[in-house]
């Protein structure tokens, strides 16, 4: 009995020493390497999301530059667990360790975000109203009350909306509504999405798409 526990103690001591050695030898995940070169089966994030994190609307890859690290980390975790459904991102996130996901998130969080610009409300009054005022008869806050002026994004948890492609915004609102994406902190976004009609979704998606790019049309598609 005594000898067994001594052997176990020895074994665990050896294991501890090994793990310390391994930990010392293993550097923290290199976020830049993951983002720009990929790792294992995960391709470089930048190959779709852009070297400046500017995204690629042609393939539905949203810009990530300047988004909060907590938000990005959570989305990667959601993809990895299958709670957020996306055939491209799920296997990629699954291939990354939590530390690697965190490191990649930090890289995008550190990139400068594009400054949004004000969209003239005349071309899209419904979108402007929902974005700037909300619809309090249904206790629906304005998008900008959490996502910041013109959808610039706020802190680590509220991502930017300005410059996201309209089809991407619309697809995410549908995913929130249909439970194909976790409801967001405090369940905020599922509640919001359930209060939006298809016309609301189209208008608000066009509004924030227009808030991002210079020369982007402010009118409804």
């Amino acid at each position: 009995m005594a000898r067994g526990s001594a052997r176990r103690a020895l074994a665990s001591g050896v294991l501890l020493a090994l793990s310390i050695a391994a930990g010392g030898a293993m550097a923290a995940p290199d976020g830049a390497a993951i983002v720009f070169h990929g790792i294992g089966t995960a391709p470089a994030c930048a190959s779709c999301h852009g070297a400046q994190g500017q995204g690629n609307p042609a393939i539905g890859a949203p810009p990530l530059a300047g988004d909060g690290s907590a938000y990005l980390r959570e989305q990667l975790a959601n993809f990895a667990s299958g709670q957020r459904i996306n055939p491209i991102m799920q296997p990629i996130a699954h291939a990354l360790s939590p530390g690697q996901r965190d490191a990649a998130a930090q890289v995008f969080a550190g990139m400068p975000a594009l400054a949004p610009h004000r969209v003239a409300p005349e071309g899209n009054p419904l979108g402007a109203r929902l974005a700037e005022r909300g619809r309090w008869s249904e206790h629906l806050p304005a998008c900008t009350q959490c996502h910041g002026p013109d959808g610039v994004g706020v802190g680590t948890a509220f991502p930017h909306l300005a410059g996201l492609a309209a089809p991407y915004i619309a697809s995410q609102l549908a995913a929130f509504r249909d439970g194909k994406r976790p409801p967001g902190p405090l369940g905020l976004m599922a509640r919001v999405a359930h209060k939006l009609s298809p016309a609301d979704v189209a208008a608000v998606s066009a509004y924030f798409a227009a808030a991002g790019g210079a020369g982007a049309p402010g009118k409804m598609p």
Partner: protein, 291 residues
């Protein structure tokens, strides 16, 4: 009596019989949509009032001493029932107020907001700022009966919870439901050069003289309106506890400060709902408040 009228009368009778049930959902006053703001000088004053109300610190920085805006506590630009709507306040003044021990006009009531809630300077009576805010309020109350207590006025009074409000439980509620937006330190969050989530305590929040410094008032506001867009989701107990927590932090000094915290407490904060002058975490609240 036509058939339709008879049917309507029958419906009315049913509605009257079912009084208490109907009364639970009172048809509250509805302010006009902003598309109805008239053209001309009055409409211009209304629009200016709304701009000041929604973006106070940028519109009238000379009167604002913190990071709040009127519409933080009066949600939807002062339209929302249960969030101290302007239309209900407008028809209630002039009125006697215990706080000032005088009959105050609506304009004087607005001055109080600037002095305490905005931790700033009261705009003079007759100033463009107060006239614009009065015009906006009066316009929102278009068609409302005057001197009436309209349903939706103020914040719905919150019944006492089973347990006395508790700081430690409030801190837990805060961490779970509030800190995401208002920050773990209560300082709020900014983005794009603007305040997005208002600070709830500290140097950039309302001062000790503000109505929201009353735990009962803060609890009522929180219960009805927080988290934003999800009012009513916290239990009464959670609302009381988190209000106790919020109002147990240091904030700018009460402008009526006499030089002595205990004397100021005795004169203006002699209520179980005020933590001013009480000791929390070894600090006497109000003693190190910025003036």
């Amino acid at each position: 009596m036509t058939g339709t009228r008879r049917f309507a009368a029958a419906l009315l009778a049913v509605a009257l019989a079912a009084g208490p049930v109907i009364a639970a959902q009172p048809a509250s006053f509805r302010p006009p949509p902003d598309s109805a703001i008239p053209a001309g000088p009055f409409g211009q004053a209304v629009r200016l009032g709304e701009t000041i109300f929604r973006d106070t610190g940028r519109a009238v920085p000379q009167y604002v001493g913190n990071d709040l805006r009127c519409s933080n506590c009066h949600i939807d630009g002062g339209r929302l029932a249960g969030a101290a709507p302007l239309w209900a306040a407008w028809v209630a003044f002039p009125a006697y107020r215990g706080k000032t021990k005088a009959v105050n006009t609506f304009a004087e009531r607005l001055q109080g907001c600037f002095r305490y809630s905005m931790n700033g300077t009261a705009p003079p009576l007759g100033s463009k700022t107060l006239i614009a805010l009065e015009a906006y309020s009066a316009w929102l109350a278009t068609g409302a009966p005057t001197r009436a207590h309209l349903a939706g006025r103020g914040y719905p009074r919150l019944p006492k919870a089973a347990q006395a409000p508790d700081y430690a439980r409030g801190a837990t509620v805060y961490g779970q439901h509030c800190a995401l937006c208002h920050g773990p330190d209560g300082a709020g969050q900014r983005a794009g050069g603007r305040v997005v989530f208002p600070p709830l305590w500290g140097a950039r929040s309302f001062n000790w003289g503000a109505g929201m410094g009353s735990i009962a008032n803060a609890a009522a506001f929180v219960k009805a309106n927080m988290p934003l867009g999800d009012g009513g989701s916290l239990s009464d107990q959670q609302a009381w506890d988190v209000a106790q927590f919020l109002d147990s932090h240091e904030r700018p000094q009460d402008p009526r400060f006499s030089g002595s915290v205990q004397e100021t407490r005795a004169r203006y904060h002699n209520s179980p709902y005020s933590m001013y002058g009480r000791t929390v975490n070894g600090q006497v609240l109000g003693a190190s408040a910025a003036k």
